[in-house]
C-alpha cells in the first residue's frame, strides 16, 4: 500500500494531554458474524474525528459499544486514559459521552425543555422543573452561540433544529464527547453547512466529536483526522490535510480485494431495439416532500446485468419499489418490453414476467411465520400452478417446494419448516429461488447477499448469472461494490437520487467509481 496510516498513540493513564477517548482492539461478535474485529481508534481533546466506511463496515456497532448499548467481547475503551466498561447507556453518559442518533429520540408533542427533562433525575422526578431546565438550556446554547428556544414544541421545529436539540440535550447532560451517527443524512444542504459550522465552534469550546459519515466532502470540510473501517476492521487513521481523496476511497472500498470476474460470455453487443426493462425520468418524494429520486433514466437489455452501485439511502429502496410496483413514481414512466407499466400493480407485473427480490428479506421479502413451501408459492398462488378455481392445491405447493429445495440447495428440515427457523443465508435462498424459479424475463434484485455466509453468496451469484445467461434482463441493486463488479455488465452509480455516472464493466476504474459513490463526479 502506498498510503501510510498514522499509528494510534496510547495515552498514559491519568494523562491530560493524551486522547480523551480511545478504543483498543474492540471486538464484537453476533453469532458467527464478526461485526467489529480488533477496532482501534483514538480521539484527541477538541478534535473532530471522522469514521468512514461502507454500509456494514462496522461503524454502527462501534458506536453502540460507545453508547453502552452492547458490550465488546474483547478489547477496551479508555476515557481520559482510564479503562471503562459501559454496562448501560447511563454508564456511557456518566463518562461524558453524548450520542446523537440518526433518528432523533424526541417526543414531538413536548417542548424542547420537556424533552431534555425526560428521564433526567436532576430535573426532578415526578414533576420536572422544566422552567429551570429551560433557563439553563438557553444559557448553555448562548454560551455555544447556538440559537435555541426551549419552550418551542419539537413538532414545530425543522429537522435541522431538532438535531440541534439533540446536540444541546447531550451537552446539557454533561457530554464532552459527542458522537454523531451520519448526522447529515437527514439534512438539506443548507442545514448541513450550519451543522458543520456548529461542530467546529463546539470543538473550539473544548468538546470532542466523533463524526460518522460516508460523505467525503463533509468529512473533508469538518474533520481533523479520519479512521477508515472496512469489513469490521480498522484500515487506518489519517490526518485529513495529508491524505488524498483517492487514497481514502480506495481504503474504504478495498482496492486489493480484486473482484472475481464472471466467467460467462459477455452479452450480445448488438443492443436490442427495445430494452426489456426501463425507467424514464422517474422521480420519487419522501413523506416530507423532498425528492429522493430525481429524473432517473435506466434501461437493461435481455441477458444484461445492470448494476446500481451506491451507498445506502441514496434512492435505491425507492427505485426498487418503483420497478416492482410497490410505489408509484411522482414523475416518469416504467416500461417493460416497451409497454408502459407505470400504473400496473405488483401482481400484474409478476404476471408479465417481472420478478423482484426485495432488499430486506425479513421485513419486506418473506413471511417468517409461514413455511418454506407457502413462501415459495406466495406470489403465484392464484395461478393454475397451485390452485384450481380458488381452491388451494397444498400437495402442489409442497411438491414445488421439494423441487426448489433440492435445486437451490436450501438447507432445511423440509418444505413445512418455518422460514423463521432458517439461517439468514437459507432464508435469502428461498427469496431468490422464488423469483428465479419462475424463469422471469426481467429481474430486479436488491441487496441479494446482505448478511449471508460466503457459501450462500456464491450460490446466489450463480443463480443470477445463470438467469441472465438464459436471457433475463437483470437490475442488480447493491451497496457491495465487489458484488456489483463481479456480476454486472454495466454499472450505474446512484447518488443522492440521481444517476451520476454509468460505466461499462470492462472499462470501469475502481477509484473513480468509489469517488462517484461519495458524491464526487470526476
Amino acid at each position: 500500500m502506498a498510503i501510510s496510516p498514522l499509528e494510534p498513540a496510547r495515552a498514559a493513564p491519568g494523562s491530560t494531554t493524551g486522547p480523551i477517548l480511545q478504543m483498543d482492539k474492540s471486538t464484537v461478535r453476533f453469532g458467527e458474524v464478526v461485526a467489529n474485529d480488533r477496532v482501534s481508534f483514538d480521539l484527541a481533546p477538541g478534535e473532530i474525528h471522522a469514521l468512514l466506511g461502507e454500509n456494514g463496515a462496522g461503524k454502527t456497532t462501534l458506536m453502540r459499544v460507545l453508547a453502552g448499548l452492547i458490550q465488546p467481547d474483547e478489547g477496551q475503551v479508555f476515557v481520559r486514559g482510564e479503562a471503562r466498561s459501559f454496562e448501560s447507556v447511563a454508564d456511557s453518559v456518566a463518562a461524558g459521552i453524548g450520542m446523537v442518533h440518526q433518528h432523533f429520540m424526541l417526543v414531538p408533542t413536548l417542548t424542547v425543555a420537556e424533552n431534555v427533562s425526560l428521564g433526567l433525575r436532576s430535573a426532578g422526578r415526578l414533576f420536572p422543573n422544566t422552567a429551570r431546565v429551560g433557563r439553563e438550556l438557553r444559557a448553555l446554547a448562548d454560551k455555544h452561540g447556538l440559537s435555541l428556544d426551549p419552550s418551542a414544541r419539537v413538532s414545530d421545529l425543522s429537522i435541522g433544529q431538532q438535531q440541534r436539540v439533540e446536540i444541546v440535550k447531550a451537552l446539557y447532560r454533561g457530554a464532552t464527547i459527542l458522537i454523531l451517527d451520519e448526522p447529515t443524512a437527514v439534512l438539506t444542504p443548507g442545514e448541513t453547512d450550519s451543522l458543520l459550522a456548529m461542530l467546529r465552534s463546539l470543538t473550539e469550546q473544548g468538546t470532542s466529536v466523533v463524526f460518522i459519515s460516508h460523505k467525503l466532502r463533509e468529512i473533508r470540510a469538518v474533520a481533523d483526522r479520519v479512521t477508515v473501517l472496512r469489513h469490521g476492521q480498522t484500515v487506518g487513521t489519517w490526518a485529513l490535510d495529508s491524505v488524498a481523496d483517492a487514497e481514502l476511497t480506495s481504503a474504504m472500498i478495498g482496492r486489493d480485494a480484486a473482484p472475481t470476474v464472471s466467467s460467462r460470455l459477455a452479452p450480445t453487443t448488438s443492443v436490442a431495439p427495445v430494452p426489456r426493462l426501463a425507467v424514464e425520468r422517474v422521480g420519487a418524494r419522501d413523506r416530507r416532500g423532498h425528492a429522493v429520486l430525481d429524473s432517473v433514466s435506466l434501461s437493461v437489455a435481455p441477458g444484461e446485468i445492470l448494476g446500481i452501485a451506491g451507498v445506502d439511502g441514496n434512492g435505491q429502496t425507492e427505485l426498487a419499489e418503483i420497478l416492482s410496483g410497490v410505489r408509484r413514481p411522482s414523475a416518469g414512466e416504467v416500461r417493460l418490453d416497451g409497454a408502459n407499466i407505470t400504473a400496473a400493480t405488483v401482481a400484474e407485473r409478476i404476471g408479465h414476467g417481472l420478478a423482484h427480490v426485495p432488499e430486506d428479506r425479513q421485513r419486506t421479502g418473506l413471511i417468517l411465520d409461514l413455511s418454506i413451501a407457502e413462501n415459495l408459492a406466495m406470489e403465484t398462488v392464484g395461478t393454475a400452478m397451485f390452485s384450481r378455481r380458488g381452491s388451494l392445491n397444498r400437495a402442489a405447493v409442497r411438491a414445488h417446494a421439494e423441487d426448489i429445495i433440492s435445486r437451490f440447495d436450501i438447507r432445511c428440515s423440509g418444505p413445512d419448516q418455518r422460514v423463521r427457523d432458517l439461517s439468514g443465508g437459507n432464508q435469502q435462498k428461498v427469496l431468490i429461488a422464488r423469483a428465479v424459479s419462475r424463469a422471469p424475463s426481467a429481474l430486479v434484485v436488491s441487496q441479494p447477499t446482505r448478511g449471508v455466509d460466503l457459501g450462500a453468496v456464491e450460490n446466489i451469484h450463480r443463480q443470477i448469472l445463470d438467469l441472465a445467461a438464459q436471457g433475463c434482463a437483470v437490475i442488480l441493486i447493491s451497496t457491495e461494490l465487489d458484488e456489483i463488479l463481479a456480476l454486472s455488465d454495466r454499472i450505474a452509480v446512484l447518488y443522492s437520487g440521481t444517476i451520476i455516472s454509468t460505466y461499462d464493466r470492462a472499462t470501469v476504474d475502481l477509484g473513480t467509481l468509489g469517488m462517484n459513490m461519495t458524491g464526487q463526479s470526476v
Binding site: G56, D369, F386
Partner: protein, 348 residues
C-alpha cells in the same frame, strides 16, 4: 399479533382450570360452598333439555360474531365494533320482516337475513374504507361507529319504527313467517346454532383450503411482505372486514327472529364485545371461536341459574370468563417475550 394468534392449545384447558379455581375462591369468600355453586352452574348449563338449549342459544350470537372477529384478527385488523353491526343487523331484519309479514316464511326469512347481512357489512365498510384509504385506526372508528349505531337504533325504535300499539321502544312483533323454525321440540332452541356451526366450518375450510384464506393469513402475518409479493392487501382487508360485519348482522337477525320475535333496544347484553374475547380464546381460529362460544354460552346460562339457586352473583361467571382469556394472553405473551429473537441479532 403473535400474542393473539400463536397460543398453543394446551394452555387453554389449564387457563380454564386456574380461572375456575380462582372463581371458586371468590365463591367461598362469599360464604357458599364452591362445589355446590359449580354443581348448580353445571346443572343450569346442561341439566335439562331446556338448560342445554339455553346454553346453545347464548352461544349462537357469540359464535357467529366471534368467527368474524377471528377472521379479522387473522388478517391483522381489529373489528371492535361488532356490537353496532349486530344491532343494525337486528334492526334491518325486524323492519324487513314486518314489511313482508304476509309473504311465505322461507322468503321472509331469507329477505330478513340478507337485509341484516347487508346492514352489518355496510356499517363495517365505513370503518374498512377509512382504514384502507385514509389510514384511520379501525379500533377507534369501529368503537365510535358503535355509538352511532346504538343511538340510531334507539331513535328508530322510539320514532319511525316503533310499534304504535305500545309505548315501549320496540318494533311490531314479527308474524310467524318471520320467526326462525325450532330445532328441538319441547325447548326454545332454534336453528341458529346450526347456522353458526356451518359458518364456523366454512370459515375453517376457507382459511385452510382456499387461495383467499391463505392470502388472509399471509397478510395478517406480514402485510408489507404480502404487498411486495403482489397480494391485494387492501382488497383482502376490506373483504375480511365486510365479512365480519356481515356475520355480526346475521347474528342480529338470528337474535331478533329466533329469540325476541321483534327488535328491542336491549337486543344485546354486549355480545359484540364478548365475542372479541371469544375470538381470542379460540386462538383466532373459526372452530376455536365456536368452541369458546359454547364455553361462554354454558357459563352464561349456568351462571344465571347458579344465581337463583345458590345465591352466588352471576358476575363470578363473568370474572371466570375474562380471567381465562387474561391467563391465556399472559401465558402466550410471556412465552413470546422469552423466545430469543433472531431478527434482532442479525441486524448489525
Amino acid at each position: 399479533m403473535r400474542v393473539i394468534v400463536g397460543t398453543d392449545i394446551a394452555s387453554i384447558p389449564i387457563a380454564i382450570i386456574i380461572a375456575l379455581v380462582i372463581g371458586g375462591v371468590l365463591i367461598a369468600l362469599s360464604g357458599v360452598n364452591p362445589f355446590e355453586a359449580y354443581g348448580a352452574l353445571l346443572q343450569g348449563a346442561f341439566g335439562t333439555p331446556q338448560h342445554l338449549a339455553d346454553t346453545l342459544i347464548e352461544a349462537t350470537p357469540l359464535a357467529l360474531i366471534g368467527v368474524g372477529i377471528a377472521l379479522c384478527f387473522r388478517a391483522g385488523v381489529f373489528n371492535v365494533g361488532a356490537e353496532g353491526q349486530f344491532l343494525l343487523g337486528g334492526m334491518a331484519a325486524a323492519i324487513t320482516g314486518n314489511l313482508l309479514s304476509t309473504a311465505p316464511a322461507i322468503a321472509t326469512l331469507l329477505a330478513m337475513a340478507i337485509a341484516a347481512v347487508l346492514a352489518g357489512a355496510a356499517w363495517a365498510a365505513i370503518a374498512a374504507l377509512l382504514k384502507v384509504y385514509l389510514g384511520a385506526s379501525e379500533t377507534l372508528t369501529t368503537i365510535m361507529l358503535t355509538y352511532v349505531a346504538t343511538y340510531l337504533v334507539s331513535y328508530l325504535l322510539n320514532g319511525p319504527a316503533r310499534d304504535p300499539a305500545t309505548p315501549i321502544a320496540q318494533t311490531q312483533p314479527l308474524t310467524t313467517s318471520g320467526l326462525l323454525p325450532g330445532l328441538w321440540p319441547g325447548t326454545t332452541l332454534h336453528v341458529g346454532i346450526v347456522i353458526a356451526l356451518i359458518v364456523a366450518v366454512a370459515a375453517h375450510y376457507f382459511l385452510r383450503r382456499r387461495v383467499g384464506g391463505f392470502q388472509i393469513v399471509a397478510t395478517g402475518l406480514n402485510p408489507v411482505a404480502a404487498r411486495s409479493a403482489g397480494l391485494p392487501v387492501r382488497r383482502i382487508l376490506i373483504s375480511v372486514f365486510l365479512t365480519s360485519g356481515a356475520l355480526a348482522g346475521l347474528a342480529g337477525f338470528i337474535q331478533v327472529s329466533g329469540v325476541q320475535g321483534k327488535m328491542i333496544v336491549n337486543l344485546s347484553p354486549g355480545y359484540g364485545y364478548t365475542a372479541i374475547v371469544v375470538a381470542l380464546l379460540g386462538r383466532s381460529t373459526p372452530l376455536g371461536a365456536f368452541l369458546a362460544a359454547l364455553f361462554f354460552g354454558a357459563l352464561s346460562a349456568g351462571g344465571a341459574s347458579m344465581e337463583t339457586s345458590v345465591g352466588v352473583p352471576a358476575s363470578v361467571v363473568t370474572i371466570v370468563q375474562y380471567l381465562t382469556v387474561l391467563l391465556v394472553i399472559a401465558y402466550t405473551a410471556a412465552r413470546t417475550l422469552r423466545r430469543p429473537s433472531r431478527v434482532a441479532d442479525e441486524e448489525e
